[in-house]
């Protein structure tokens, strides 16, 4: 029961990244329509009515974000966050290597809407193939007059820079991303006062949008908000999401499905379910930075509002599936090494807390834990979380720990009481 792809329709199509193929498949018509038939404010109106929500993880309404940009600012910027680094997430990766023109088209419309004449794509440093494809696509778009001065004969001009990162998860945080472009140490900025629509790139009003968000825009412009609202789980969760499903499933991959598709459907019907003889145990619904879900949650709808009702978040829909051969404490320890490695170090609770958490979990999984460590971990998480840090990494680091202790405390206690791991750590699928 696979859904007919919209955003990912060009993924898997040979040479889809070449502009001739993209054009032949109907590409750049949305740009033409947007620039010749609508004003910038009308584009914002359309995107707002469609209730497109940011696909990077926060789900903030895109139209509202764009409307926060002052209309009379002499200089504004549109920045595409292509720093995909949330563990378990690889949806942007396929969009970038197969359909770079779709992103460019979405960016042109978005930049037009906020009156930006300069755009940036902040691309994760490791994405070598995507970088080559984007550079090529940008050059092709320029050659065809979709970028540069007076696009398609209108008064609107846009130049897009490709900026490659160099390996740091924190650069996916929008203000750290801007610091990185500015050549500074990429540490997040305090908000207030540094809300990007007010003070953004080079101090100018800036909208930072995810790749997938921008890829939705051309379709919304072409087909209209009502069309978009007929898909997914309207009115608050319209449209599709590209779900990245990996881990111990038979068919790991990216699957575009309507928002509101249940967890069970995604794991068992789209991704082919678990391996022979294995039972579903847990999953990271929105990447490792969201509280775990378990077999109790298979009927939960995957959208921005249903997941908070069960204590987690849709996030980036990086769904790493764990089965009954997986030791949860060991897996959580592995997740904690990620946060320790990626903490930028700016604020005290995250810098010290991520290291402390990793140290305690390491002791536990190597058989030197104490029972008191478990409540200590929860208290550390309480001190780190609750939006007390400059950015959400401080909260993210706590979610695997707190949710694992909530659902699998017995496994932690086993490690502590028996000084060893019950499963010797890692399950291999083949």
């Amino acid at each position: 029961m696979k859904f007919e792809p919209i955003i990912t329709r060009n993924v898997g199509v040979p040479d889809a990244w070449e502009i001739e193929v993209y054009l032949a498949r109907g590409g750049y018509q949305a740009v033409r329509k947007a620039l010749t038939e609508y004003t910038p404010d009308q584009i914002i109106e359309i995107v707002s009515r469609a209730n497109l929500r940011g696909r990077g993880g926060a789900g903030f309404p895109t139209g509202r974000k764009w409307s926060l940009i002052p209309k009379n600012a002499p200089q504004t910027y549109l920045v595409c966050n292509a720093d995909e680094s949330e563990p378990g997430t690889f949806s942007n990766h396929d969009l970038l290597i197969w359909d770079p023109h779709l992103l460019i088209e979405g960016m042109i419309i978005g930049a037009y809407a906020i009156r930006a004449t300069t755009g940036f794509i902040y691309l994760r440093g490791e994405f070598g193939l995507a970088a080559r494809r984007l550079e090529r696509a940008l050059a092709q778009a320029r050659a065809h007059g979709f970028l540069g001065p007076r696009i398609l004969g209108t008064e609107y001009s846009l130049e897009i820079y490709l900026f490659r990162g160099a390996g740091a998860y924190i650069c996916g945080e929008e203000t750290a991303l801007l610091e990185s472009i500015e050549g500074n140490r990429p540490m997040p900025r305090p908000r207030p006062p540094y809300y990007p629509p007010a003070i953004g790139l080079y101090g100018k009003p800036t909208a930072v949008n995810n790749v997938e968000t921008l890829c939705n825009v051309p379709f919304i412009v072409l087909n209209g908000p009502e069309w978009y609202l007929s898909i997914g789980n309207p009115p608050k969760n319209p449209g599709t999401k590209v779900f990245s499903i990996s881990g111990l499933v038979r068919r790991p991959g990216n699957y575009e499905a309507p928002l509101g598709t249940t967890l069970g459907e995604l794991i068992f019907e789209y991704a082919g379910g678990l391996h022979e003889g294995r039972r579903f145990k847990a999953v990271t619904p929105g990447g490792t930075s969201t509280p775990l879900l378990t077999d109790q949650h298979l009927d939960v709808k995957m959208d921005y509002d249903s997941l908070p009702a069960v204590g987690t978040y849709l996030g980036s829909t990086g769904m790493i599936v764990m089965d009954d051969t997986v030791c949860i404490p060991c897996a959580v320890h592995r997740m904690s090494t990620f946060y320790r490695h990626e903490s930028c170090g700016k604020c005290t609770p995250c810098r010290e807390g991520t290291a402390w958490i990793e140290q305690i979990l390491r002791r536990i999984v190597t058989g030197r834990g104490r029972l008191a460590d478990l409540d200590l971990l929860l208290d550390i998480c309480d001190n780190m979380g609750g939006r007390k840090t400059v950015c959400a990494l401080g909260d993210f680091a706590t979610f695997p720990v707190v949710s694992a202790l909530k659902y699998f405390r017995d496994e932690f206690e086993y490690h502590i009481r028996h000084n060893r791991c019950p499963t010797a750590g890692v399950a291999v699928s083949r």
Partner: protein
């Protein structure tokens, strides 16, 4: 005596005027210098900083912050094994141990013949092909097994004797 080629120096110079602000060129410039020189010793960094007109401290800050910038020399093939959660579930720890044994080096070390450096990276965003490796910071090799690694290592060692072609990775994005 300049360490970087005229071509790289000219490209860095071009970048300083290309972006809306000069300092934006610093990270791209360091990447360019590393692409040519292989890594970023202080002498190379000094050349970059002179062209971009920033204090070497600014470059040092970035080099020590970012995972893809190398202060120490690396081998011809930098094998970056992903240790994200999905790759962990699919056995990357075993592969890491396997490679260390096979190559006879530890993590962040280079084989004596200068061919292979072994590193790890955090989730590379290719979890559907786990376990995954990042080669030379640019190319992805997925669905790794000990056998596949054996074949690739042999192929790259052979390639090293014929430096003209870019390394074969066996498919990405297909």
């Amino acid at each position: 005596m300049a360490l970087l080629s005229e071509k790289t120096r000219a490209e860095i110079q071009r970048l300083t005027a290309y972006f809306p602000q000069r300092r934006t060129a610093l990270l791209p410039a360091l990447r360019l210098a590393q692409a040519e020189y292989g890594y970023l010793p202080p002498e190379v960094v000094a050349e970059v900083c002179e062209i971009v007109q920033v204090d070497p401290n600014a470059a040092e800050m970035l080099i020590t912050f970012y995972d893809l910038l190398y202060r120490e020399p690396v081998g011809r093939y930098v094998l970056g094994l992903c240790r994200g959660l999905a790759c962990y579930l699919l056995g990357c720890d075993h592969l890491l141990a396997y490679l260390q044994e096979k190559l006879g080096i530890g993590l962040n070390q280079t084989t004596p013949d200068g061919l292979f450096t072994l590193r790890t990276f955090e989730c590379l965003a290719r979890c559907d092909q786990a376990p995954v490796m990042l080669l030379n910071g640019e190319e992805y090799v997925g669905h790794l097994t000990p056998e596949k690694l054996d074949a690739l290592l042999a192929q790259w060692a052979e390639e090293a004797r014929r430096p003209a072609e870019p390394p074969v990775t066996g498919g990405e994005g297909a």
